[in-house]
């Protein structure tokens, strides 16, 4: 990688960065910095993520995409020495304001991880987990919710006869869809996906992508991906990250067909990355 100069020094909040196509901003990020100890990994991130659309975050490894997506549900809180500055608001409420109920936040902002992480419990108990900790105990209601979530995650037909089997007996692709079902069960408004298909084979990846496409009718989806074709296929908007900054944020078509920044073009055409 030879690009060390020419970081676009456009101040955060330039028209190009702030502009939104349609719909209201579900998530608004303003001058968001993030530090691990003394190392700053995010610099003045400013962008608006629209409701009921898929926003893809792309960029080379170590550019801060994952740190950023984990900031939206404050998953980074569990890392000692991590520190955030600036604001992220969801529906106008600053989630980093003191006194924010992180547990309640995470119920509204679901997350699917890069490596599928089903609990060593039955398929049913995995999906029911979030509901149970939310206080739902009625068996019939639980069963209905579990079924609905599994149907939404396009997994129901494959597991309906073995809900009591261990979730670890499922294939990798099925496990990831189970994790999506588990996240959907608590009825979040936002779904964060951190490279959800990077460990899956092409068939399973296609299934996940189709799923994302269907889910966006009801959820605001933010997806981190290394796979440019995937970003182009599933997202409405794309943000290109580089060295902890947002280089360019626009609709996906513009980013891939007609990017404004040279660096974006170089990246999406595979000249570096």
């Amino acid at each position: 990688m030879t690009i060390t100069i020419a970081m676009p020094s456009a101040p955060p909040g330039t028209a190009a960065v702030r502009e939104i196509e349609s719909g209201a901003a579900k998530i608004s990020v303003r001058d968001f910095d993030f530090f691990y100890g003394s190392a700053q990994v995010l610099h003045g991130i400013t962008l608006d993520i629209p409701d009921q659309q898929v926003t893809a975050l792309i960029g080379p490894s170590g550019c801060g995409k994952t740190t950023f997506i984990r900031s939206i549900n404050r998953m980074n809180d569990i890392i000692p020495e991590a520190r955030a500055k600036g604001t992220i608001t969801i529906d106008g409420r600053d989630i980093y304001a003191p006194g924010t109920d992180v547990v309640a936040l995470r119920r509204r902002v679901g997350m699917v991880f890069q490596k599928s992480n089903p609990f060593p419990k039955s398929i049913f108990d995995n999906v029911a987990y979030g509901l149970r900790i939310g206080g739902l105990t009625d068996k019939r209601s639980l069963r209905e919710h579990v079924e609905k979530s599994l149907i939404r995650a396009a997994l129901w037909d494959e597991v309906k006869d073995r809900l009591d089997d261990s979730a670890l007996a499922l294939s990798g692709g099925q496990q990831q869809r189970l994790c999506i079902a588990r996240a959907l069960a608590v009825d979040p408004e936002i779904l964060l996906m951190d490279e959800p298909a990077s460990a899956l084979d092409p068939t399973a990846t296609t299934k996940i992508e189709e799923l994302i496409w269907e889910l966006k009718a009801n959820y605001t989806i933010v997806i981190v991906t290394h796979n440019m074709q995937q970003a182009a296929r599933v997202s409405d908007r794309t943000a290109f990250f580089m060295l902890g900054r947002v280089v360019e944020y626009s609709d996906t078509k513009t980013i891939f067909m007609n990017p404004k920044e040279k660096m974006t073009e170089d990246y999406v055409t595979g000249r570096f990355g």
């Binding site: 549900n73 998953m75 569990i78 000692p80 547990v103 309640a104 995470r106 119920r107 679901g110 997350m111 991880f113 490596k115 992480n117 089903p118 609990f119 060593p120 419990k121 987990y129 979030g130 900790i133 939310g134 261990s166 670890l168 007996a169 994790c179 588990r182 996240a183 608590v186």
Partner: protein
């Protein structure tokens, strides 16, 4: 280095390893062989059911000591398992805090304290004030020996649970304690259980801390406020006596102890395998 020289060095290293393994296993083999040879012949049904007989009277058994040992182990586990597990979970969860490093160090020191010293401590704390040896005091002493083992194994195994599971639970809106008790501890349970059984097996063979806590009892007793017989103390008493009859009984007791520990270890393994099967495809 030529290929030949490399192969020679490799062969020598392998040979040294094999010798070391044999040296380590030999004493075990001898002990087992000797205990089985001497003990198995003295073992019969009466040994399990009848009470010790006075000197000179043939026969008799260790029925009361077997029950006594089980009671002592039970009391020890009752005392040590909750404390040890909770402590271990705390250490794993707050691994970097100052308090944790102090606790960890304390557990390691406690682990190294000679069991006779633990016995004296329990004597001072649980025997002297009430002026009576009791099963409770014995269980307390054994429990003190168990705690550090349970603490450290629990900590190790809770730490081994992949961080993805914790994040998954937190991302679903679980509080930290909820995540620990509904996901992380269940995932580590097979290992924690083994740790408990191994710790139990270890204290089952202890004699020194019992000598002046639970003492001994020639009669049938299950009262935990009274002195109680135990296999180890009984073996000790018989072994240092001048009577051949009692020596035979001591061997039988030793044999039984070894068997109990063997069975505990096997049960631990089976339990782990079962739990793992439930957790794996």
């Amino acid at each position: 280095m030529s290929a030949r020289r490399r192969k020679t060095v490799s062969a020598i290293a392998e040979g040294l390893c094999a010798v070391a393994v044999i040296l380590a296993l030999l004493p075990l083999a001898f002990i087992l062989f000797y205990v089985v040879k001497q003990g198995a012949s003295a073992l019969n049904w009466a040994f399990f059911t009848s009470m010790p007989k006075p000197v000179g009277e043939p026969g008799g058994g260790m029925g009361n000591a077997i029950v006594g040992t089980l009671i002592l182990i039970g009391l020890a586990a009752l005392f040590a398992v909750p404390i040890g597990c909770i402590c271990g979970i705390h250490l794993a969860e707050y691994r970097d805090s100052r308090f944790s490093s102090v606790v960890r160090f304390a557990a390691d020191v406690l682990n190294g304290v000679p069991s006779i010293v633990i016995g004296i401590f329990a004597y001072g704390l649980a025997v002297l004030p009430v002026k009576r040896f009791s099963a409770m005091a014995g269980g307390f002493a054994l429990g003190l020996l168990m705690i550090p083992v349970v603490v450290r194994t629990t900590e190790e195994l809770v730490r081994l649970v992949p961080s993805g599971l914790r994040e998954g639970a937190l991302a679903l809106g679980a509080s930290r304690s909820r995540a620990v008790f509904t996901v992380i501890v269940p995932a580590a349970l097979p290992g924690i259980l083994t740790g408990i059984l191994v710790a139990t097996a270890r204290v089952a063979g202890e004699t020194a801390p019992l000598l002046f806590t639970s003492f001994n009892n020639r009669f049938w007793s299950t009262n935990i406020a009274q002195p109680i017989a135990s296999l180890t103390v009984q073996v000790f008493t018989y072994a240092i006596s001048p009577y051949d009859d009692w020596h035979r009984q001591a061997w039988a007791g030793a044999f039984l102890l070894v068997m109990i520990i063997l069975v505990l270890s096997i049960v631990a393994r089976l339990a782990v395998r079962r739990l793992e099967q439930m957790n794996r495809p």
